[in-house]
Structure formats: C-alpha cells, structure tokens
C-alpha cells in the first residue's frame, strides 16, 4: 500500500470545564474527548469510526479540520502537519478537507437559496466568474441527484434526504481530497438512508474521494468503509479491516456493541446477548487503566491499573485489550 494521504498520530483533545469563577478561575476539570487517537487514511479509501454517543468521534473529525485546536498529536496531510498551522495558513487547505454534517437541518443556512449556498465556497476561493460558478453549481446539483429548479429554493423546502444531498454538494463543489462525513445518515429514515449511502459510494468511486465516515450504526459502517476504528471514551480500542472486524471482533467492547444491535437480518430470536451493564462513564477523569474496565464483563484487577496498548493481534487487526486474542 502507498503512503497514506492523511496520518493521524496520537491526537489529543480535551475540553476545559470551568468552575464557579468562569474563565477567570481557570478550568477545574477537563473532558478528555480524544485520547491518543491514531490512524491512517489512504487515498480513495473510507475509514469508518464507530462508537457510542460521547465517545469522541465528532471531536476527532472536528480536530482534524482545525475547528477546535488540539492538545497534542499530529495530523499529517500530504506531509504537512495541519495542527501546526495558524488559521490563515489553514485556509489554504480548506478546499481539500471538507465536512458533511450530521444534521441536515441545522447545517444549511435557512435564509440562503440553495444556489447561493453552493456558490459561496467558489466565491470565497475566487473561482471562476458568475457564469462559470453557476454552471459548476448546476453540475454538482446533478451529481448529487437534485434538479436544476432546486437552485432557487430555500433549504426548508426540502426533505431531510434532499437536504443531506445539498450538504454533500456543498462539501464536494471544491473538489476536495478528503471528506469527513459525520453521521450523515443518522437523522434519516431507512429508505432515505439507503439513497444517501448509495450516492456516497457512487460519488466516492467517481471522484476518487477519500473519506472518514463517522457513525454509530455498525451495519452502515460495514456497508461503506474499508477499515473501521471502534472508539470508546476517546480511545480507539480496535482498528481492523471491515470484514475482519465484523467476522471476528476481538475487543470485548466491540463484541458487546455488535450484539446490542437489533439487526433485522439476524431474525427474531433475541439470541444470547451481552447486554452491557451501566452507561458510558464520564470522561472528565483520565482513567489510569483500561477505559472499558468499568463495564467490561472480563475486567480484572490488571485492567483497572494498566492501560492496554494497541497491538496487532492479527495481520492489519489492532486491539487495545489485555485479553484479546
């Protein structure tokens, strides 16, 4: 395999929690949203990030895009460490890195017609004249399966699926190299979800896009990605090729996650499931041991004190568990 187009190396991000004095008093605690996350992204491939709510998936995406700074680690894009750039310099890379938002309702400016919404990035980067821009917009509308007359509509006149297409068009109009999709289908109905997933796959193929696909739905991520990282409490606990991971999950959290999915295809028998006790714990403390130890059915004393490191348990299959094999 060639050089990765994007390398994320022990990325860290914590959010301060302020006490009664507000910012004046300094942070009383930190939410460790992303802890030491590393992965590689190869050109034309899709990397899936799965995990429960609050596990830090979105934060990983936003940090890569330089939306909230980082507290350590590197993001190497074609050899440049994005984290070391200031916001002016970062603007040069904006055309290459784009984001598709989870919520198709709040991510489109309600007061802008679709046309001007899509033209905006072209204007920002001073691409083409009025005519050329318009053509480009009509073209991208067609690409994402919308009609020319949609050019003049306002976002609220669209259904959720259509809005997500607009969001996609906006991300694609600059011909980006990498698109980060943050749960682009979670807010949609199954039938619409299928449309968008198909569309994404098609476009990726046609435009040779590289994608990071964030979701909590394992069947979706299985469908779309080449490789999957499973996140828990800001850590990637397992990272493997898709088929490999689905067939043989090694980390106990991954296993539990899989069994909790009420998958239609598995028939109506609720087979023996590992229903996890309790909920995802607060991530304001830096856990000394394994982050999953509090809920893990297999946890031992060791798990509470020693943090398991990522190890390659099988070829291309990494897991952070003391007991995984």
């Amino acid at each position: 395999m060639s050089e990765p187009i994007l390398q994320v190396k022990s990325l860290q991000k914590k959010f301060p929690i302020y006490g009664s004095m507000g910012r004046l008093g300094g942070a009383v605690a930190y939410v460790h949203a992303v802890n030491d996350v590393s992965f590689n992204l190869y050109e034309g491939q899709t990397y899936g990030l799965v995990g429960e709510s609050g596990s830090g998936k979105t934060t990983v995406g936003r940090t890569i895009l330089g939306l909230n700074g980082s507290d350590g680690g590197k993001v190497l894009y074609q050899g440049t460490n994005l984290m070391a750039l200031d916001s002016k310099e970062f603007r040069l890379y904006r055309r290459d890195l784009q984001l598709v938002f989870q919520d198709p309702f709040s991510s489109l400016n309600p007061r802008k017609r679709v046309g001007s919404l899509l033209e905006e990035p072209l204007i920002i980067h001073k691409i083409g004249d009025v005519k050329e821009r318009q053509e480009k917009v009509f073209a991208i509308l067609e690409t994402v399966g919308l009609q020319p007359e949609h050019y003049f509509r306002f976002p609220h006149e669209f259904s959720g699926g259509q809005r997500q297409r607009i969001g996609l068009a906006r991300a694609l109009i600059m011909n980006p190299k990498i698109v980060i999709c943050d749960e682009p289908v979670s807010a949609l109905d199954v039938s619409i979800q299928a449309q968008i997933l198909n569309l994404l796959k098609r476009i990726q193929r046609e435009l040779k896009l590289t994608m990071i696909f964030i979701t909590h739905d394992i069947s979706v991520v299985r469908h779309i990605s080449n490789r999957i990282g499973v996140m828990y409490l800001g850590h990637i606990v397992e990272d493997a090729l898709t088929d490999d991971l689905i067939a043989t999950p090694r980390h106990p959290y991954t296993k539990a996650l899989f069994s909790a999915i009420p998958d239609f295809s598995k028939g109506s028998n609720m087979k023996q499931r590992t229903i996890l006790k309790g909920e995802i714990p607060s991530n304001t403390m830096k856990i000394s041991g394994c982050p999953f130890s509090l809920r893990c059915p297999l946890a031992t004393e060791r798990c509470n004190v020693e943090q398991p490191l990522m190890r390659e348990i099988a070829p291309q299959h990494f897991t952070a568990c003391h007991f995984a094999e």
């Binding site: 302020y18 006490g19 009664s20 004095m21 507000g22």
Partner: protein, 316 residues
C-alpha cells in the same frame, strides 16, 4: 452563589464607570448653570459667574470628575445646591414614592396580565384570544400620559372617586396612600400589562407544545393543573425577564406619570434637577437608578435559579 453574586457586583464597576462618565459629560456639556437658576430671572452674568466660581463649576472638567468620583468612593454623593441637602437625603426622600408606584404598577400589571395571558394561550385562536391581543396592542400604543390624563378626568374630576394628584406617604395610612397612588399606578401599569400579557401568552404557547405537557396530560391531570403547575413554571423565565426589565423601567421611567400626577419621585427629582442644573443630584440619582436596575436584574437572575433548576448561575 455568593461567588456569583460577587462576580455580578464586580461586573457592575465598569457599568457604573460608563454611566458616570456619560452622565458627567452630558451634564457638563449642557448649557446653563445652576447659578442662573438659583439667582433667578434678574441676575446679572457677573453674579452668575461669581456664584459658579464659588461653587466650583468653573474648574476643568476632569478635575471636577475626579473630585466627584473620589467623593463618591468615600460614600459622599455631594450636596444639592438647590435643595440644600445631601444628595443621599434627596434620594432617600424621593425614592419611596417611586418605589411604591413601581411596585403597585407592577402588581396591577401582573394581576391583569398573567391570568389573561394564560387564558389567551389556552384559548389560542378563539375570539377571546384575538380580542385580548388587540386590546394589548392598543394598550402598548397608547402613550402613558394620555391614558393618565383620561383616567384623571374620569375618576377624579368627573366621578370624584379619587384624589386628582399628589402623594401621601405610607405613614399617613395605607388606605390614604393607595387612594393617591391608584391612578398613576394604573396608567403606568396598563402599558406594562399589555406587554406582559403578550409575553405570557407567547411563552405559554411555547411551553404548551412541549412534550412534557403531553406527558402531564397523559398522567390524567386536570387542565388547570397542567396549565398552572406544569406550564406556568416553565414559562416563568421569559415572563420573569420581562418583569425584571419592566420593573427597571418602572422605577426609572415613571417620569411622565410622576409629573402628571405630581408625585415627588425619582423621575421628578431628575427632571427638576436637570432644569435646575443641579449637577450633583443628577449624577447621584442616575448612579442610584443604575444600581437599582442592576440589583433588580440580579434578583431576577437569582430567581431564575429558583424557578428553573437547569439554570446554573455560576456557569455560563
């Protein structure tokens, strides 16, 4: 909580600073001097100049400002040249009428507005609702002095039920006090009532479409309980905000009504002081009013916490 309050008080300093500068500037660029008023129509310019000199109004403005500020910091608001009493005493004398007027007006407003607002929200879209809203619009559109004038003509002059104007302090008996206060309070309160009715209605409507109202109904609760227990408390924050703000404006904005009904309140005090160029009083009173305004809003913010547990005061 205490931290929060002290933080709020701390943030008061820049506000007061701004207020004092603004007021100081305005007062000092205003032409005319207290001496002119003091000496009356037939005074000569020299006499006025001499008196101004003696009273220190001819010093450079920044020196006057700093001497004023340093006095204020020592707790001395200065003396009224016109009333020959300390400004603090003047404020002490003029504040009770205004406070009483504001409280009464607020009570009137609240007692009219909140029930009507709730009813209008409950009967949304009915004739009752739209009539009420049109009335409220009218209430907001009528200038306070016009309303006051008509009230006075009707209730005092024609019917003779209530005294025309004037003020009797509370120690002359609550009843006497109220008789004098009721009309001004009404003319002040009606406008507020209009505003609060609309606010109550709209925030009740916001709440009534919430899921938890559905939950409350699904429990089998009666409609009154749903409205008064579950909805009203949730609609409380915006209503409270408006109440707080309007109380602030009531305390300070009663100028017109006070002058119409001859109530010796803060509004009259400032107004008279402006025409008399009684500089110390203007500065002192506006400073005091600012404090009141901030205090009322602090209280309102503290009450947020009581009404809605989600409001954590010490966090933004």
């Amino acid at each position: 909580m205490i931290v929060y309050i002290s933080k709020r008080l701390l943030s008061l300093i820049p506000v007061l600073f701004v207020v004092s500068i603004v007021i100081f500037l305005i007062v000092h660029i205003t032409p005319g001097s207290p001496a002119a008023t003091l000496l009356g129509m037939e005074a000569t310019p020299e006499e006025i100049e001499i008196l101004n000199d003696q009273m220190g109004f001819n010093r450079p403005i920044h020196i006057q400002y700093f001497s004023w500020v340093s006095n204020v910091l020592k707790g001395d608001l200065g003396d009224s040249i016109f009333m020959k009493q300390p400004v603090s005493v003047a404020i002490k004398e003029h504040f009770p009428p205004t406070l009483s007027l504001a409280i009464l007006a607020q009570i009137i407003a609240v007692f009219i507005a909140i029930p009507f607002g709730i009813l209008a929200a409950h009967k949304r879209g009915t004739v009752f609702d739209s009539t009420l809203m049109i009335l409220a619009l009218l209430g907001m559109a009528i200038p306070g002095f016009l309303l006051g004038l008509f009230l006075m003509l009707i209730f005092s002059v024609q019917l003779g039920w209530l005294p025309v104007a004037g003020y009797r302090s509370l120690d002359m008996g609550i009843w006497t006090h109220l008789r004098y206060m009721i009309l001004p309070a009404l003319s002040l309160g009606m406008v507020q009532a209009a505003l609060i009715t609309r606010m109550t209605r709209s925030s009740m409507l916001d709440v009534l479409y919430n899921n938890f109202i559905k939950t409350a109904r699904a429990k089998g609760l009666k409609e009154q309980i749903v409205l008064l227990k579950h909805a009203l408390k949730n609609a409380g924050l915006p209503i409270l905000t408006v109440l707080g703000q309007s109380f602030g404006t009531l305390v300070t904005g009663a100028v017109v009504v006070e002058s119409l009904f001859n109530i010796p309140g803060m509004g009259q005090l400032v107004l008279n002081s402006i025409t008399r160029r009684d500089i110390a009083v203007i500065q002192g009173v506006v400073l005091f009013i600012t404090l009141i305004y901030v205090a009322v809003n602090l209280i309102v913010d503290l009450m947020y916490g009581l009404i809605d547990p989600r409001v954590r005061l010490d966090r933004k």
